[in-house]
């Protein structure tokens, strides 16, 4: 088993179909395979033990994924937003490597004898002769296909490894071969070093769908790409979707995206108000919320288009609430909730989210497997399953506020704060509290020219939730700190509160 089979199948069945569009470059599935096989020849000749990529999204990314698979070495895309020192540290960890890069990113690399740096343009135009004599791809399901450095908040980044069997299990379990229509196209805006960037390239190839690549994200160029390429599908992280919605309302612009049928979102919590606005702005679009992690080869739960519509239209508050869930386990995995001692919990009981299935690797280089004896992986996310198996996330286990022994999830308080007409953004974190150990703190961004008092926001939370949920400290900020993929950096906000004086209980 080898993920190269995915490209072999697409090239065999739909070789003439456009695989990838990037600016004025267009490449068919047959051309993608030919480029990957030439690159595999070059990689084998280099004796590299990794294929690394330090670059934005271009056709070199899918070529490198499959070239590594044909050559039988792991593919390791690097985060080009890291500092020069951090990047070179990671490069050292993958040496000897064949490293594809370009321009400014290439300039960050310190020369090393055991790293062969290849310019992106050269990588895409390797001589035909290199493809000759490249043996059939290896068949070992346990071979490592992809290695991703996780953005650990403390210590050195961990190297999560995904084996061919994990990724193949994900693809075969969640996609039907050649499911895309001839004209379908997906616009890809997640960077190549993110698990969603990899799963997207594999899923699109298996579906034989055209990938339209953007090398960065802004609402205007996203809309332009969708229109000029008649894009039918998109994957977005929540902040991207919010920015598109904001852009359209600011410009008073109609969506004008007649070809767009499906938007999938994931990679962070989507505020309820944002998805509701998006659904009313794009009534013809199917929305899908996907939840997954690097260690689970991407998506493990999905809130599908019908779930979105049923929840939005329902009178039943329990059904309506599902719009803020991440849906049900895909057919390829099982999901269970357990308490801190590992004891399984019943429906509606919050605890730690565990996942099991062929796509779940839960494994780090030199640290070994984080799976338990029965193959379950602890996501370190907190949440619960409702009576019908819809998964509700309450945030990272480390983000949960423990106030006098009561677990409080930041998400539900944030949703209430965001429902206030003056509030543009909100993040809730644990703050030090002498009486309760931890208390609730909130950093709030107000909309331009809008006003809301601390007391008013506290009253709102008290009415909607209960008094233990009321933030005892609320600070107003011009903006919240985010990482480049739109994940709010709670630790930065927590730090700010911690450095301030401990606050008295409300």
């Amino acid at each position: 088993m080898n993920i190269a089979t995915i490209l072999d199948m697409a090239a065999e069945a739909f070789g003439d179909r456009i695989a990838v569009v990037s600016g004025s470059t267009r490449m068919t599935y047959a051309e993608l395979r030919a480029a990957a096989q030439r690159a595999a020849g070059a990689i084998r000749a280099s004796k590299a033990s990794y294929v690394a990529l330090l670059d934005v999204n271009t056709p070199a990314a899918p070529v490198a994924i499959f070239a590594a698979a044909y050559a039988g070495v792991p593919y390791v895309p690097l985060n080009y937003r890291l500092t020069k020192a951090e990047i070179n540290e990671l490069v050292e960890r993958v040496a000897p490597a064949y490293l594809v890069s370009s321009g400014d990113y290439r300039a960050l690399l310190e020369p090393r004898a055991d790293i062969q740096v290849v310019d992106r343009a050269d990588f895409l135009n390797l001589p035909e002769s290199l493809a000759e004599g490249v043996p059939e791809p290896g068949d070992d399901p346990r071979a490592v296909a992809v290695q991703l450095f996780t953005s650990g908040t403390t210590g050195k980044p961990k190297a999560a490894i995904l084996r061919h069997e994990n990724l193949m299990s994900y693809i075969v379990g969640t996609v039907e071969f050649a499911a895309a229509e001839e004209d379908d196209a997906i616009v890809v805006t997640v960077p190549p070093y993110h698990i969603a960037g990899i799963s997207s390239a594999l899923s699109s190839t298996y579906a034989c769908r055209r990938m339209v690549q953007l090398d960065g994200f802004d609402a205007r160029s996203w809309l332009e790409a969708c229109r000029s390429e008649n894009v039918s599908n998109a994957f977005l992280v929540p902040t991207m979707l919010s920015r598109i919605v904001d852009h359209l309302s600011e410009q008073g612009e109609g969506a004008r995206l007649p070809a767009l049928r499906s938007i999938a979102y994931g990679g962070g919590k989507m505020p309820l108000s944002a998805i509701q606005r998006a659904m009313s702005l794009f009534p013809q679009v199917d929305f899908t919320n996907a939840y997954g992690l690097t260690e689970t080869s991407s998506t493990v739960a999905v809130l599908g288009p019908d779930d979105h519509r049923a929840a939005a239209a329902s009178e039943d508050p329990l059904v309506r609430k599902r719009l803020s869930s991440v849906g049900k386990a895909t057919g390829a995995v099982e999901i269970a909730i357990r308490d801190e001692d590992g004891k399984p919990l019943a429906a509606n009981q919050p605890g730690l989210v565990f996942v099991r299935g062929g796509q779940v690797s839960g494994e780090y280089l030199s640290l070994g497997s984080a799976l338990d004896a029965d193959g379950w992986f602890s996501t370190r996310d907190r949440g619960y399953l409702d009576d019908e198996g819809f998964l509700f996330l309450e945030g990272r286990a480390d983000d949960v506020i423990v106030r006098g022994g009561e677990n409080i999830s930041p998400g539900e308080i944030e949703d209430v704060l965001l429902s206030h007409p003056a509030v543009a953004d909100a993040a809730v974190v644990a703050v030090p509290d002498e009486q309760w150990g931890e208390g609730v703190g909130a950093a709030v961004v107000l909309k331009e020219n809008a006003k809301a008092s601390v007391a008013e926001l506290q009253e709102l939370v008290k009415q909607r939730l209960r008094s233990s949920r009321v933030p005892q400290a609320i600070v107003f900020r011009d903006a919240l700190p985010y990482n480049e993929l739109g994940k709010v950096l709670r630790r930065v906000i927590r730090q700010e509160f911690a450095e301030a004086q401990p606050t008295a209980s409300a």
């Binding site: 088993m1 089979t5 072999d8 199948m9 065999e12 069945a13 068949d139 399901p141 061919h164 069997e165 193949m168 299990s169 075969v172 969640t174 996609v175 039907e176 071969f177 050649a178 499911a179 969603a196 799963s199 997207s200 899923s203 579906a207 599908n233 994957f235 499906s262 999938a264 994931g266 199917d286 899908t288 996907a290 991407s298 998506t299 999905v302 599908g304 288009p305 895909t330 057919g331 062929g358």
Partner: protein, 104 residues
């Protein structure tokens, strides 16, 4: 000769281009044939003079999933060919494609 079908294992037809990948199969021994002959696992090669049985030439289609009656055994066709796929003496059928929500 009966063989175990391990998830991920690749099977090649001895008489046509068909290649299958095991998606799932309960533990046990199976007789898996394509075009009338036992399929080849690993690096095994076709016996001398092996020929497609014209009565076993329904053909296989790339990307289709072949299942037994109870859908306990599932094989993905990674390369199409001329032969029919037969498991323990019973022709396998094409699994109905599911509409899976596109998540990426």
């Amino acid at each position: 000769m009966a063989v175990a079908l391990k998830a991920g294992a690749k099977l090649k037809s001895a008489v046509c281009d068909t290649q299958l990948m095991v998606v799932k199969a309960p533990a046990g021994e199976y007789d898996i044939r394509c075009g009338g002959l036992e399929m080849l696992a690993g690096t095994a090669t076709a016996p001398e003079g092996a020929q497609l049985d014209p009565a076993q030439a329904e053909g296989t289609l790339i990307g289709k999933r072949y299942v037994d009656a109870e859908e306990k055994v599932e094989l993905l066709c990674t390369k199409g060919g001329k032969g029919s796929v037969v498991l323990n003496g019973v022709a396998m059928s094409i699994k109905q494609a599911k509409q899976l929500p596109s998540s990426d």
